[in-house]
């Protein structure tokens, strides 16, 4: 009995913070747009239970149909997935060597290096992305430095390049930390054993270090990919008008068009788009634990 009670809090937590909001959003997604407050119909009249049946009967999937009909939405989804994928690969290519260097650094250096990786979290995400506008804008810090060296200015701000820079910058720690953790656990004598058995240093890296840090690579990739798919701040601050990401579309639908019903449909679909990689991640984590 007591054990059951102990299990409740997580479920109650899930119910209040996930399932209830989801149910609300899903209900709005099934409603019709209306010029009213709130801007959709029908609304539940909680005081009159006899009307509930009629209200439920008025719900339909029109908005989801709309998402399929207008190419804007699925291109935005695809574009988000592509941008997230590229950003994840870039973060991996940059993050792995950094994590490797940290794991190989002398023990007394490590706390400092770890600090440097975590330090950005001590300031606001929004402010850090604004700072990148200052660096990347046409009259920004980067072009100023390039000017001193005599290189013609680059126009990076409001392009996908700026979005990638911002995304990789913002999510790099999520790549570095799990990879570092898995590299740090590798017994150094394994590499000596590999060398002893005829591997060069490089070969030992690919045959021993990389496979043994696979768990960290997986975790890092999912920790970057999943939030980046729905990312809103970076594309809207650093991206241009042709940067298409679903988070941006959602906000525009909701606040600019005040179309709560379509915005809710977008959110529901986004959730399902993300549930697939999350489930994959869980599965691979379980498989690793099992072996």
């Amino acid at each position: 009995m007591i054990r059951r009670v102990i299990l409740w809090p997580p479920y109650i937590w899930l119910l209040i913070l996930f399932l209830l909001p989801f149910a609300l959003v899903f209900k709005i997604a099934l409603s019709d747009y209306a010029i009213a407050i709130p801007p959709y119909t029908p609304t539940f009249d909680w005081a009159d239970p006899s009307s509930w049946g009629a209200t439920l009967g008025a719900l339909d999937f029109e908005n989801f149909q709309w998402l399929l009909d207008d190419p804007l939405y699925y291109t935005a989804y695809l574009s988000s997935l592509r941008i997230a994928l590229v950003a994840t690969v870039l973060a991996l290519l940059i993050g792995y060597p950094m994590a490797y260097a940290m794991a190989r650094a002398p023990a007394h250096w490590r706390p400092l290096l770890m600090m440097l990786v975590i330090l950005p979290f001590w300031s606001s995400f929004l402010i850090r992305i604004y700072a990148w506008i200052g660096i990347l804008s046409n009259e920004g810090f980067l072009n100023m430095v390039l000017g001193w060296v005599g290189i013609p200015p680059l126009s990076i701000i409001n392009t996908n390049t700026a979005v990638y820079i911002g995304l990789v910058y913002a999510y790099l720690p999520f790549m570095i930390l799990p990879i570092f953790a898995s590299l740090d656990r590798i017994d150094p004598s394994l590499l000596e054993a590999a060398e002893d058995l005829g591997c060069s240093r490089t070969e030992a890296f690919w045959r021993i270090t990389v496979p043994l840090s696979k768990a960290g690579i997986f975790a890092g990739c999912f920790l970057v990919f999943i939030p980046v798919v729905g990312e809103y701040i970076v594309p809207s601050l650093l991206g241009g008008s042709n940067t298409l990401m679903i988070g941006k579309v959602l906000v525009e639908e909701f606040f600019n068009n005040r179309d709560w019903t379509v915005a809710s449909a977008v959110a529901v679909v986004l959730l399902f788009v993300l549930v697939i990689p999350i489930v994959l991640f869980q599965r691979s984590a379980e498989r690793r634990d099992a072996t």
Binding site: D187, S189, L190, E192, A193, A194, E195, D196, L197, G198, C199, S200, E203, I208, P211, L212, T291
Partner: protein
């Protein structure tokens, strides 16, 4: 015994397989290995014996190529190993932690080195099967290292390091993680495998019994220096220092003034007669407990000292008597229990005589 016939170190015509020539290794200011020279011959089972931290692993890792000597030369088969990286040395090492690759099964672990040599698939398979048979692990080929026992892991590590048929196999405390019974069984297996494969083995251990059981010769180390290199029997019978005498087996040490034929060890006591050509001066008489006879009456012997029985340790086949002699020193003497317990006449607090011949002990001036 092989000791009688196999003694290449006594044959000036033989050239060593491994040669450490005046090797010194420093870690910063700390000298881990101090001017060590060793010759090891093909087919030897050579043991490095010494307490923890005396530099055994370091000495071995220099041969494998994981540490570079600060000075001195290590050569293998006459070739200076100075600039040869670990993956190019005809030496394989069995690591103290086994260092099995956790993401590969037993089969792939053993095949790892063979595949790096670019051997064709069928030859790799044949060799791996042969190794699995040698260490009797055929049934476990598909298991991952974390799904087998400690003793089996130890065999996998051995098979993996032997698979490439190295000229020299280095074993760093290979049996350290095994319990006593499994250890003893494995010691004999190691000797067996060493003889079957003809590989030269160099083993690191801090267990003198283990070193005595398996090796042709032992180097006794202390704080980075080699105290003595000899066969197990010679180390036991003719240690060159108190350190070696004490490290190999049990010994009584009686301090005194050595005059060339007698040791004057206490005021008013008969000097002890010993046959030895040790230089005169301050010295110690080293006496193994089993070389001392114990009796109730004064025996007719070269040396006899009276004393009082302080303690008796009954070991089944043997008893060890602790006897306090004039001057307060406690001497251990061992006697076989040929008679039944009830019939034996020596007991606690008895006054007894310890006696031994002039050739029973050694005079050590170091």
């Amino acid at each position: 015994m092989t000791d009688d016939v196999f003694a290449p170190w006594n044959d000036p015509g033989q050239s060593p397989l491994i040669r450490y020539a005046n090797v010194t290794k420093k870690f910063g200011e700390f000298t881990a290995i101090d001017n060590v020279s060793i010759d090891i011959f093909p087919g030897e089972f050579f043991a490095l014996l010494g307490p923890s931290g005396c530099g055994k692993t370091t000495l071995m890792r220099m041969l494998a190529g994981f540490e570079t000597p600060t000075s001195g030369i290590i050569s293998l088969g006459g070739q200076d190993m100075g600039n040869v990286p670990p993956n190019k040395r005809p030496v394989n090492m069995m690591f103290q932690s086994y260092a099995l690759f956790p993401h590969m099964n037993v089969w792939d672990n053993i095949a790892f080195g063979l595949r790096r040599d670019g051997l064709p698939k069928d030859q790799v398979a044949a060799r791996v099967e042969e190794m699995l048979r040698l260490v009797q692990l055929q049934k476990f080929a598909k298991r991952k290292p974390d799904a087998i026992s400690g003793g089996q892991r130890q065999r996998v590590a051995l098979a993996r390091s032997l698979a490439k048929a190295p000229k020299v196999l280095l074993l760093d405390e290979p049996l350290g993680a095994l319990d006593k019974k499994l250890r003893q069984e494995t010691q004999f297996e190691l000797v067996d495998i060493q003889e079957k494969t003809g590989t030269t083995f160099m083993i690191v251990t801090h267990d003198q019994e283990e070193a005595m059981t398996v090796s042709t010769r032992i180097a006794v180390m202390d704080e980075g220096i080699i105290k003595q290199i000899d066969t197990p029997a010679s180390l036991y019978e003719a240690p060159n220092s108190r350190y070696v005498a004490d490290f190999i087996g049990d010994v009584n040490l009686i301090e005194g003034d050595w005059r060339g034929d007698t040791l004057h060890w206490a005021e008013g006591q008969t000097p002890l007669a010993v046959q030895s050509d040790a230089p005169v001066g301050k010295a110690w008489l080293a006496l193994r407990p089993e070389k001392i006879a114990i009796s109730k009456d004064q025996a007719k012997a070269d040396n006899a000292i009276p004393g009082q029985v302080i303690d008796i340790a009954y070991l089944g086949n043997l008893s060890t008597y602790v006897v306090e002699i004039p001057g307060g020193q406690k001497i251990r003497a061992q006697a076989t229990n040929a008679r039944r317990l009830s019939r034996r006449d020596i007991t606690w607090n008895d006054t007894v005589w310890l006696s031994w011949t002039s050739t029973a002990g050694l005079v050590l001036s170091e």
